[in-house]
């Protein structure tokens, strides 16, 4: 079927009746077509079930060499608000990069690399078979057991704590670090580009946290103070929108211990700013967030992420003023409504 996987909550709609209207593959192709100067789609690798993983590169044409912000979504299949946010983020950047002075400022110096869904197989499985599936779909034990937890599969103190060696567990860390093609594809790419990557963001749900390294040890990272400072700024910006409270801190201290996470690994290979976002809510709905919370979640999270990008931009590329106008905010609202009408017209 042409519905490879579904664009579930694209542009602030209720999800009812939106099933499989368009696939994320089709969305990426369209995004690149209608923003070809700014966006290119790139091959990352293949999943265990042989589906192609792509990332989008948002890059303002320039003769400057840029540094990179990486953001991935959909490591865990059931966390549907995560790919929804990556899509929302791309849409917002592309709609506002000319009018929003903050965005146009950081795009002068930074390229944005967005991976809308890493765990494609698991995501499709959660749509078609088991809504609360978490892992990828790699077969084990002669096909009697499926799935590795991709966020326990990275080479960061792999297999040491907060994991299971049993395939039947939701936190099965795999047969070895980077044993999974999805992990390997992403890790190899990031490793190649690491000297240019200033920030690694990975989006999950739920819990309302901004998590700093590490999960595998309580020993703080070298730049712990700065990591916390920026995360607190981001959390405050997020709360400013709808009052949503996010806790900020190191995973091992405020959540639980775990090893093999992508966030830990990114920091360990030298990427200075590395954060896990755990989006809404705090457990009343958990993974199955009601449709009317999708857009507000995306809007508030956008503020947090752009706060982090702003900080990094100003830290590494100081100088240059930013003028905020109320006009740019009004334009943003107007464009969201227009996107809504476009989607209705598609039915």
């Amino acid at each position: 079927s042409s519905c490879v996987f579904c664009l579930s909550y694209p542009l602030g709609m209720t999800a009812a009746g939106l099933r499989c209207r368009k696939s994320i593959y089709q969305w990426m192709t369209q995004i690149q077509k209608s923003n070809s100067k700014l966006v290119t789609q790139h091959y990352l690798g293949k999943t265990i079930e042989n589906r192609t993983m792509y990332y989008l590169q948002i890059s303002q044409p320039s003769d400057k060499t840029k540094k990179i912000i990486w953001m991935d979504c959909g490591i865990h299949a059931r966390e549907w608000i995560s790919p929804a946010f990556c899509q929302w983020f791309v849409k917002e950047i592309l709609q506002n990069y000319k009018s929003d002075p903050r965005i146009s400022r950081f795009l002068k110096n930074l390229d944005l690399y967005i991976l809308p869904v890493l765990n494609i197989d698991g995501y499709i499985y959660s749509w078609e078979k088991d809504r609360l599936w978490r892992k990828n779909r790699s077969p084990h034990m002669n096909g009697t057991c499926y799935g590795t937890d991709l966020n326990r599969n990275f080479n960061s103190s792999w297999g040491s704590i907060g994991v299971s060696y049993n395939c039947s567990s939701e936190i099965f860390c795999g047969s070895g670090p980077e044993s999974e093609p999805e992990t390997r594809a992403m890790a190899q790419f990031i490793e190649r580009k690491k000297s240019d990557i200033l920030c690694y963001l990975t989006i999950h749900s739920y819990g309302q946290y901004i998590l700093t390294p590490y999960g595998s040890t309580t020993k703080p990272p070298s730049n712990s103070e700065e990591l916390m400072h920026v995360a607190k700024k981001a959390s405050a910006a997020l709360m400013g929108k709808y009052g949503t409270r996010y806790e900020v801190g190191s995973t091992s201290l405020i959540l639980y211990s775990n090893s093999g996470s992508s966030r830990d690994w990114a920091h360990m290979i030298g990427i200075p700013f590395s954060y896990t976002f755990e989006l809404r809510d705090k457990g009343s709905h958990g993974f199955v967030l009601p449709p009317d919370q999708i857009q507000p979640t995306c809007e508030e999270t956008m503020l947090a992420v752009t706060t982090i990008i702003d900080y990094i931009d100003q830290k590494y590329f100081p100088g240059g003023a930013v003028m905020l106008t109320s006009g740019s905010l009004g334009l943003s609202l107007c464009l969201s409504v227009r996107a809504l009408l476009v989607l209705i017209a598609m039915f």
């Binding site: 999800a15 039947s168 939701e170 819990g207 639980y256 457990g283 199955v288 009601p290």
Partner: protein
């Protein structure tokens, strides 16, 4: 607080100050939680004090009660909420009842290393009764944060507007064999 007589270091005592979200306001609450480290099969002791009063829900309770009582056939439903987070208005009280009842199940099965959340009703079936109580047989899914497991749990729930919620029977179910 009295120490157990046989072992001095087998309870863990937490003093909690929390805020409860009521319908349109918040209420302060303090609680004392005692985990029994020696025996994981004993639920933690919980004592709590609510400062002030919770809102009255009699009207909504009675509406729900009459609606169920007036059904011609026993209620049967599944997947609440559905995959997209939808709950129909008629099913919202059924979901809330499951959520409250699951709180008891979670409490009875909590240790210092668990964190449960209610995830979904897989299936609910009303059980016919000759008395004034409503009875529902639920199969729910709990999410346990630390292990990340989704745990099916069967529970039999009694409810009456004036007599509150009771879980008369519950049992943890095996995970479905992974496909």
């Amino acid at each position: 607080m009295q120490n157990d007589s046989f072992n001095k270091i087998n309870v863990l005592h937490y003093h909690l100050e929390l805020v409860l979200e009521d319908i349109d306001s918040t209420v302060n609450c303090t609680a004392e939680v005692l985990y029994h480290l020696g025996n994981k099969n004993i639920a933690p002791d919980v004592q709590f004090t609510i400062e002030g009063e919770l809102k009255n829900t009699d009207e909504a309770d009675n509406i729900f009660y009459s609606q169920i009582k007036s059904l011609e056939k026993e209620l049967v439903a599944e997947n609440i909420p559905d995959s997209h987070g939808h709950v129909s208005p008629e099913m919202e009280p059924i979901r809330l009842l499951a959520w409250v009842a699951s709180g008891y199940v979670m409490w009875q099965n909590s240790t210092e290393n668990t964190k449960f959340q209610f995830a979904q009703i897989k299936h609910v079936k009303q059980v016919k009764r000759s008395d004034e109580y409503l009875e529902f047989d639920y199969m729910i899914l709990l999410h346990e944060m630390v292990s990340q497991e989704i745990i099916p749990w069967q529970m039999t729930v009694l409810w009456h507007p004036q007599h509150g919620v009771q879980v008369t029977q519950d049992s943890r179910q095996p995970k479905h064999a992974s496909e």
